[in-house]
């Protein structure tokens, strides 16, 4: 039930037990999604994503509160929460997976590394496999930034869009995740 708390605790305690493990985390990750149709463009942002990234194994977890997505218009936000993702019933969206295409040694020096993220994305109580290309950037001050983009199809997650607004909402939603990690 309190997986996130346990994970964070583990993330804080484990490195002292196992020197080889290097973990990064944030509670201020940015997740943005965009729906573009000829009728209207809809964008929502959430800057309170939590994430833990284990450099030694590549394991990564991200969680967002669905209600924390902010839209330009109140009506869009209400429809999103009440009718589409049913955030009262399914308050969180999560991703659990691994990042591959880098070595822990790579990330000790500044640079940009192309990586692949593979895992399971859960939205609206439905879990689907997801593979996405991403970039890990180590800046000269040692800060680790991660960026990835992928497409989500509402129908894959059993999200039903009523006929009346079917043409206002894209069949493929672009999702962008930008995370600046702090070393634990």
């Amino acid at each position: 039930m309190k997986t996130e708390r346990i994970l964070l605790l583990a993330a804080l305690i484990l490195p002292t037990l196992l020197q080889a493990q290097v973990r990064f985390a944030t509670r201020n990750g940015h997740v943005t999604f965009t729906s573009e149709t000829p009728l209207e463009n809809i964008e929502a942002t959430n800057d309170k994503a939590t994430s833990v990234f284990d450099l030694s194994s590549g394991a990564v977890e991200v969680a967002v509160l669905m209600k924390a997505f902010t839209f330009e218009k109140a009506l869009m936000q209400e429809h999103f929460n009440e009718n589409y993702v049913e955030s009262d019933k399914y308050p969180k969206g999560t991703f659990k997976g691994t990042v591959s295409g880098f070595t822990a040694g790579d990330l000790t020096k500044p640079g940009s590394y192309n990586v692949t993220v593979t895992g399971d994305l859960t939205i609206h109580g439905v879990t689907k496999p997801l593979t996405a290309e991403g970039t890990l950037v180590v800046d000269p001050t040692g800060v680790l930034k991660a960026v990835t983009t992928f497409i989500v199809k509402p129908e894959d997650f059993d999200i039903k869009i009523p006929g009346l607004v079917r043409d206002n909402i894209a069949k493929e939603i672009d999702v962008k995740v930008q995370i600046e990690y702090q070393k634990l």
């Binding site: 708390r5 964070l8 309170k48 509160l65 924390a68 218009k73 009506l75 308050p91």
Partner: protein, 137 residues
């Protein structure tokens, strides 16, 4: 003939009112929690306790609803764009109550201040998040 014209005029007027309402509703912005009657008036530590003890029950009780929370300010961050974030102490170093607010007074708060805010609860993801908060006192 005059009667038909009158009916037409009334229909056009009704249509215009409906369209105007539709447009207003479509463009309605997000409102803060200022006018909402809170479902609970609670200390930050007790709010966190509710979520950590039984997340599903706390979700059902608080999520999407206005909650009034009182606590000691741990940190205030006011980014160039977007709302000010006021973090409240909970007695737990790993989990806070995070209040996002566009209330101009939020950025003036300092660590250690006691404050009461009212905002819409978005749920529990390490921290308890309240959005569109107003400062009550």
């Amino acid at each position: 003939m005059r009667r038909t014209k009158l009916i037409l005029l009334v229909l056009v007027a009704l249509g215009a009112i409906a369209a105007g309402y539709g447009l207003w509703e479509y463009n309605r912005g997000l409102s803060d929690a200022g006018a909402e009657e809170p479902v609970a008036r609670i200390e930050a530590s007790a709010l966190l306790q509710e979520f950590s003890a039984d997340e599903a029950a706390a979700n059902a009780r608080f999520n999407g609803k206005a909650v009034q929370v009182t606590g000691i300010v741990k940190e205030v961050t006011a980014p160039a764009a977007g709302p000010t974030t006021v973090s409240l102490e909970t007695g737990d170093p790993l989990s806070l109550v995070i209040c996002e607010s566009d209330d101009g007074r939020a950025a003036q708060l300092k660590a250690g201040n006691k404050v009461t805010l009212k905002g819409f609860c978005a749920g529990y993801n390490l921290d308890v998040l309240l959005q569109r908060c107003v400062i009550v006192e």
